[in-house]
Symmetry: C2
Subunit: 244 residues, 2 copies
């Protein structure tokens, strides 16, 4: 089986156990349903699995019925490659746009997503489990072999009060006189990064003051265009990835 | 009325006529419906309009009924600012993702979008009018005062045969040994740009050969991650905008 063929296999995230050749692992009920009813797979079919630690493995469906499925691990086909240590701090926005932010952040390699409530945030409730599932699906469908963690919703200032100075914070603001991302990325200290983007109404003046007083904060503008929240985030994350 | 208040007004694209103070303009049936039934506007309400040439104007609803609405132009509130001369050449993909590509390309300032059929393209039909409407809506909701044009679907090689060497072509390819976008943008001749992204299956070998033989083509990689078509495009366009 060549690399091209591996690419066509269904790829699933199986957080437990550690992968060992010949081991039998149980899939979740949702995965069993997906393989059986959506992908029409049956015993003997091959698939690709990853657990976030052991790279990508080739596996074979051992047994599959209505609610249960078991696979047998064959061998490693790709080494574990960790994603860059980038965190996303972003205000929730309306469902469709926020789902997109989660999906694209995972696809673009972020390690952690922290939904933060800002003064102008309208959405005050998220379904963390649902968002985590979107992140897992995005990892399965891209080729990263770890998964972006989605954290619980937290108040922005409260979160930033405990934010470690071990990490640079890229503060994306609109309509403000701020250096652009390219200049900023050139002068950053070599540290892990976090990106902060706001709700549709932008950050409040008090939030801007608060964030700017923190250490290792770099305010950046994403250009002359006014971008929706989800576009600003995808744009900033793409930029950071291209430039780091 | 201050800048902050202008931002809250409904903003509409009215391609004709040229804007002159005191002039009365007819809105389309769709716009009349939107203002009346969705936004609950009535005569005397203010709005913002642009035609792609004369900047942003303040206007007042003169008359509105079931299918018709007329506005009276007041004065210019923002000068015309043209978007950068960037074209997008991209393979259609499934509806939701392609709609997103159109919306985000407009929001990120592209001037023209040319849907191109590649060998691995699965979708062979687009609704140009519907996509143009998505582009107009994205312009209305961002702050650009021109609109990205959506062209008819055309075969990739056929289109490239008539592609002018007046324009640099950024050729986004996956899994290939290509310089990254940052290095490439540094050494480009100062010319207008086009970005080319492919379908889910990527470009065929014959397409890659074909494109690489053209003049002013710059093959770039968008990083180690495998991105979906829509993410690759948004990422490339964000990068080009940040770097040019």
């Amino acid at each position: 089986m060549g690399t091209e063929d591996y690419k066509k296999l269904v790829r699933l995230y199986i957080p437990e156990p550690d992968f060992v050749q010949g081991e039998i692992c149980a899939l979740s009920e949702g995965q069993a349903h997906y393989l059986r009813n959506v992908m029409r797979k049956s015993a003997g079919d091959k698939l690709r699995v990853f657990n976030g630690r052991d790279g990508d493995w080739l596996a074979e469906l051992e047994e599959i019925n209505k609610n249960k499925a078991f696979i047998k691990l064959d061998h490693q086909i790709l080494e574990q490659k960790s994603s860059p240590d980038i965190w996303v701090l972003a205000s929730p926005v309306k469902k469709e746009a926020f789902d997109l932010m989660i999906e694209k952040s995972c696809e673009l390699g972020a390690a952690k997503f922290i939904p933060v409530v800002c003064e102008h945030t309208v959405v005050h409730k998220i379904n963390q489990e649902r968002l985590q599932a979107i992140s897992i699906e995005a990892a399965e469908q891209s080729e990263r072999n770890d998964v972006m963690t989605v954290e619980p919703l937290i108040d922005l200032k409260k979160y930033l009060n405990s934010f470690s100075s071990e990490r640079n914070l890229i503060f994306c603001i609109e309509r403000m006189d701020a250096p652009n991302l390219v200049e900023t990325m050139r002068k950053l200290a070599k540290k892990p990064l976090a990106i902060l983007t706001g709700p549709e109404g932008g950050f409040s003046d008090s939030e801007i003051d608060f964030v700017k007083k923190m250490q290792y904060v770099y305010s950046v503008s994403l250009g002359p265009r006014i971008l929706r929240s989800e576009t600003a985030l995808i744009s900033a994350l793409s930029g950071v990835q291209l430039l780091s």
